[in-house]
Homo-oligomer: 335 residues x 2
Amino acid sequence: MAVIKDVAKLAGVSVGTVSKYLNTPELLREDKREAVEDAIQKLNYRPNLFARNLRVQDSKTIAVIAQEIRNPFHAALFNTIRKEAMKYNYSVVLYSINDVNGNIDTLFESLPLHYFSGLVLCYFHDMEQSIAFAKRHDKVPMVIMSNSDRYFNEYDSAKIIHADFTLGIEKVCEYLISRGNKNIAYIGCKTKDTAHEPKLKGFLMTMEKYGLKPHSITRLEKEYTMETGYESAGQILKCGTLPDAILSDTDIMAVGALNCLRDHNIKVPDDLMLASCDNIEFARYCCPRLTTVNVPIEAMSIKAVELLVAQMEDKPHLSTGTSFELELIIRESTK
Amino acid sequence: MAVIKDVAKLAGVSVGTVSKYLNTPELLREDKREAVEDAIQKLNYRPNLFARNLRVQDSKTIAVIAQEIRNPFHAALFNTIRKEAMKYNYSVVLYSINDVNGNIDTLFESLPLHYFSGLVLCYFHDMEQSIAFAKRHDKVPMVIMSNSDRYFNEYDSAKIIHADFTLGIEKVCEYLISRGNKNIAYIGCKTKDTAHEPKLKGFLMTMEKYGLKPHSITRLEKEYTMETGYESAGQILKCGTLPDAILSDTDIMAVGALNCLRDHNIKVPDDLMLASCDNIEFARYCCPRLTTVNVPIEAMSIKAVELLVAQMEDKPHLSTGTSFELELIIRESTK
DNA sequence: TTGTACGCGTTATCAC
DNA sequence: GTGATAACGCGTACAA
């Protein structure tokens, strides 16, 4: 493996010159530049990243903290972040909150936090903890994805991306009501900060606005999976009286609920309407196709990486976070 | 940030002793050990990984090369590998073949190959290329996931994990035939090495064994997505005569196909049976539930990491790869 | 514009 | 069992 010294010798220059070529080639005289270029080619030289990292104390690596990569919503989020980061020449490692029972701090046991050039926090499930973590490490370049304007307005605007899930759920809930449903059941998972759970809040506010009482609110203390959705729907059926509609806070749960209803011979949308939130791909492919709320994952991820890069390259205020709007998508499950 | 020198000073020992404490504490006398421990505690010292990496020329990082993380099958694979690797104190970075139009070599442009402690190749789509890449870099610790005994038998047994997809497809195809289907259509995606595509091979061999002719073979040059499945089924319907059954080489495509059939008012399984391979979670939650072939992703990933760690820690022959059997799962789509 | 020399924080190799 | 010291390969003052 050729090192910078070999290149210098072959090119007939000093190591300093080669280093300059690598970092600020425009500051080199043309003949030297060509000589170095040739030598690098001939030796197939690649700078040693270990040495470089030590010297500049920077790994060019971003940690993405996500809930669970097998969840299609989070997979899409992670994937776009990863792709975007690579455009800026950062690599990405994934941490999953599910690995550590929801405690962010235990995540960095093997790899210390300062190893990373930056962090993206996509842990909607416990925003309170995410924000606390961010505040505790405010020197570390970091972007937080938020689902609540509570944090969007309160926290550093150069570090936060926001999607208004409350508004999103309001839209879909209003739509359900406009379709004649009065007796609506809500399903979701229990989050740490129930009092400010933005989706639940959107549901409750909308129901109240129309003077309606929820049929039921089911929020199991489980992971967001189809199985949990199945189980949640099962709970609703046990109530005795069927709701007019079920509003699920995620597509993945809605798909599970759909299965449960089918097993009980309840037809969607004829016997009961179903709508949810996220617009994962499967929402278009299940049967019936789901009415849901689109989340602009791609745009959000791109913006997140932009913010993070700005921080990492020390121009934090070139860019500030944005709030993204969610859009209602009407499909068969409410037809 | 405290460094090793600070610890040494506070503990009243030399840096060498502290280093020894970090790496082989059992070789230290008890009083010194305690002194160092105390100092580390007091200073909240964390070894600098950049320096450590440089010294030992090892990043403790594994690269996983996967097709596409949004595909649930690959997400599950990646996730288990990541979790396993973390148990051994390695971190994982994901590379996606879809980012680089299927060319593995362009993957390591920013990060040189020798930066990684090891590699896991999960690129079933072009085994020929995967194996060629592995052979070209036979000094790099690497594990290849293979879908064909062609490679399993031919390549270094300490470096390869194998699932017999040919046999898996044979099982499901035989089952379709046993259910009275004679006129079977096959859908999949075009792979680079069609002549040895293990799933297609399993299908063709089984059909021949029973003296049957395929209704059609549709293999679009697209990615494995539900949309591609939808389109593939559309092609079959254009043929005019409906097959008795469709065998899809992946669940994800089958789900898409299911949607297309539904849009054309063709009932599964009444008008036409459908079966596939992978046993992703959706296969249990779509409507009808899919008959498919289970792939023991978890066991395979665990074994893969075991093999890789053995290579990385220089005991390559403590462990050899295994072939995993695939199991038929019968559900509604063939009832 | 280019070269020299030093430092980044760790581990490994020696003497002792 | 412990301490001093030389690498590891790169970036960057500072001198020329």
